[in-house]
Amino acid sequence: MASSNHNLSIAQYAIGLGDDALTLGHRLSEWCSHGPYLEEDIALINISLDYIGRARMFLDHAATVEGEGRDEDQLAYFRDDREFRNRLIFELPRGDFAETIARQCIVDPFYVLFFEALMQSKDPVLAGIAGKAIKESRYHWKHTHSWMLRLGDGTAESHQRILTALDEVWGYHFELFEMTDLDRELLDAGIAVDLAALKPKWDSMIDEVLTAATLTRPEDTWRQSGGRNGEHTEHLGHLLTELQFIQRAHPGLQW
């Protein structure tokens, strides 16, 4: 039946977006009590909470349109790493503070542009989530932007460390703009976002902040992707071990 295939595509799309948010939300939550100082600790945890909230909304939507009796918790806690569809940049270890900010520097402007576009989706739930999330992502970007200036234009050491961190994560940004067959199918249906079309605007946002932060843009010498096909780095398994432990040990536990 065509309509049920269509629903499965939407479910798959929402699972990808949910997995992106879940893995990054988890990575940011790892800063809890490890932030460089109290206010920053709280900031990263607040941002983490926004991502976990998005993960819940996307996965709940996926479970609803899929209609196979699963719920958001089953999707989050009872799938193995090869079933996760998050893009690789989100599962990378939190690293030090520079690495966390470098990833946010790539991700925040992407989300500002992505949610702006997803708000036009013909799927009303996806559009609704986007309308909510874009306000948060603009706020996150403001926070990351100010840190880029402080680190890049700070001391010689902070400059060097944010530069190195950016270099290490740079090759993962391409995947954010890669269109899968699923993306193309749902783009034709007016539901998905044209990711490739976001790239020029993203480039100019990145160039603006790097210039202001006296940083040189890393060269495009390598790239890595595969997350949307379930091909992950070794880090995802370790992340899921911690994220899923309690539900795997005590299925259905509530508190």
Binding site: I42, I47, S48, L49, D50, K132, A133, K135
Partner: protein, 163 residues
Amino acid sequence: MVAIQTRAEIQALLDQVFDPEIPVLTVTDLGVIRGVDIQPGLIRITLTPTYSGCPAMNTIEQDIRAILASTGCAVEIDTVYAPAWSSDWISDAGREKMRDYGIAPPEKDTHSKKVLMGADPTIECPHCQSTQTKLISEFGSTACKAMYHCDDCLQPFDYFKCI
């Protein structure tokens, strides 16, 4: 046969449901209740979250169910995301209560403001009304607040973010 509740009766009950994180604000003050549909034996509430990950929303939902249980009606709660909640929806009464509680209320009219990406707005200290205040952190004790400091009375305070 369960009597049909009047809108005023339902509203009076909802006015007893408070935000667990800012306990002077009712859910109505906060603007998260987007619809109340009353039918014989059934009350349907439409709720919208403030922030995607706001942990208070589950508590609010449970509290609404608990208080409406006294009507004997079935209660349905629908969560909607669109239109997205805006701090503009906080009532004037809510802003007043917030200030008395020591939290600077959000600036009004998010649309005409460059608050999100532009210059920081001037925030009035809820303790002494001074405008000599400065931002300490964009993020505060809950998802909805930022931290400020007053240069006149030297007190720190929370500012309810404008989104």
